[in-house]
Amino acid sequence: MIAAHFPALQVVIPLIGAPVCMLVRYRDWSWAVALACSWAALAIAWLMLQQVLAGGPVSYALGGWAAPLGIEYRVDTVNAYVLLIVSAIGSVVMPYARRSVRHEFGTARVYLFYTSYLLCLAGLLGVTITGDAFNLFVFLEISSLSSYVLISLGKDRRALTAAYRYLVMGTIGATFIVIGVGLLYHNTGTLNMMDLAARIAASTADRTIGAAFGFLVVGISLKLALFPLHLWLPNAYAYAPSMVSAFLAATATKVALYVLLRFLFTVFNLELSFGVMPLDIVLLVLAVIAMFAASTVAVFQNNLKRMLAYSSVAQIGYMVLGISYATVTGLTAGILHLFNHALMKGGMFLALGCVFYRIGSVHIRDLHGIARTMPWTMAAFVLGGFGLIGVPLTVGFISKWYLIVGAIDRGWWVVAVLVLLSSLLAVAYVWRVVEAAYFRPPSEAAKQASDAPASMMIPTWILIGASIWFGIETSLPVGVAERAAAELLGAGR
């Protein structure tokens, strides 16, 4: 049965797609290959989520080598959910990519762009699905290396320096992860995550495991751009091609967040992560600072992609805040926001990509009055912005609701108030765009603009529409997130 091989196919299809893309060379065909691989990945992720929800975790021995010795792919609710998010974003962004990439990148050697994209997708899916700590590092580097390439392809020369800085910081992060994994292997003699979990739980926490824990947490935090390790992110997302900003903002940091969840709750147990190590309070403080500092910086950005990038750092703060509660409600909020933020931020970056396609700029000065000539694009952007603020009937409201309920459950009233206060900062930076786009006289560029072509508008509206739909009909994301949170905490006991 082919269904038995879904875990392998999930990664192998985009991984094989990448060289195929390179061989066909012709631009539309390479795009078609990338599109087909993304959709296939989405179909597999969806079927696997159904499988996992119905029958519990799926374990797959790669190449027939059984678990502790061979590499195991292990799919439970948490990573089936993340796989679905990553492949869904890839599938929605690909139809958009055809025009956007041709516009920003030209037609020469465009197949290399899609090759990098497929490698990045394969890497992200691989990180999510693998049950082996060292395999995770390899996939992490596949996705990171290809995302450095994708970012450096931006039109602005600052894309090059942004990619370089990301490369340096990303490699330091990855090397920290290798050191952590090495120390764990040194102490336990295994690399399989479930095996590691069992052996760490059985041993008393000694200094080697503590050091491994520290290296891993710092390394992963670099990858997920947790304040104050976020310095690579704003320029990388601001100067990357539009499609890449949307794809990476919605997936790369989310996958890193999943890795953090996996290590904190599955590999290390709850007692070690938040008891022996006072990580909950550290995460709480950093998350709150991220929410305020990054949102405040976002208010003063004139490059709107940079504004969204800083807003991403703040939103990562909310997700990490949920994790720091270490309760089912808190984790639900974190995982839910991971899903919701991917929809909102992906949609908003796509909307800005449409603006860039028409007027060649995302500077707020050039967007004056643009809502008159690009009404649908700006409507999408503003609806996404409502989500970031947390207006009711958007997904942002649902995740903030769970965050606040979780804070009150723990008796942390101050945190609940801080979540609300930081939302006001989101009002400020979204309002600046609304004011410029709707209430200012049109700029020269804006007068000539019109809504982007349908192949770009439809993907934008699919993501924004989903961010409204799941704000009203919450059973799928909330149900799965709750189950995932319960599983993560259950595995720690």
């Binding site: 590092f137 290396l145 450096s152 090059l160 370089y164 490369l167 340096v168 490699t171």
Partner: protein, 118 residues
């Protein structure tokens, strides 16, 4: 063997790690940063190889004459990590070439000076 001197491998690892990390952080020259990154990664390779050492063990090749082998798994893992390191270095240097073409310099402070928002 367990004395501080006996663990000299680890002292070398720590020295290389800190030296590499310092170069990455402190130097403005983009190529020197890549060199620092390489030293930093190399220290981790040595760390893994050290883990794999079994006292009195030979190279892990099956031979009836020997019973004690070094652990080959860390060696294999590090082969993979070396490949990743080479790819990273190649990409980093390629980016430096492109940066040099775009800015005419590979000094970080001079690049930042050129990029101040108008």
């Amino acid at each position: 063997m367990q004395t501080a001197l006996g663990l000299y491998n680890y002292w070398i690892v720590i020295f290389l790690m800190m030296a590499g990390f310092y170069i990455v952080v402190a130097h403005d020259n983009l190529i020197k940063k890549i060199v620092g990154l390489n030293i930093f990664q190399a220290s981790v390779f040595v760390l893994y190889i050290t883990f794999g050492k079994v006292t009195g063990g030979t190279a892990p090749i099956v031979d009836p004459a020997f019973a004690v082998y070094s652990n080959p798994l860390p060696h294999v893992l590090i082969l993979t990590a070396i490949v990743v390191g080479v790819a990273t270095t190649a990409l980093g240097l390629a980016l430096v070439v492109r940066i040099n073409e775009a800015y005419g310099t590979i000094e970080d402070d001079e690049i930042s000076a050129q990029d101040i928002e108008p």
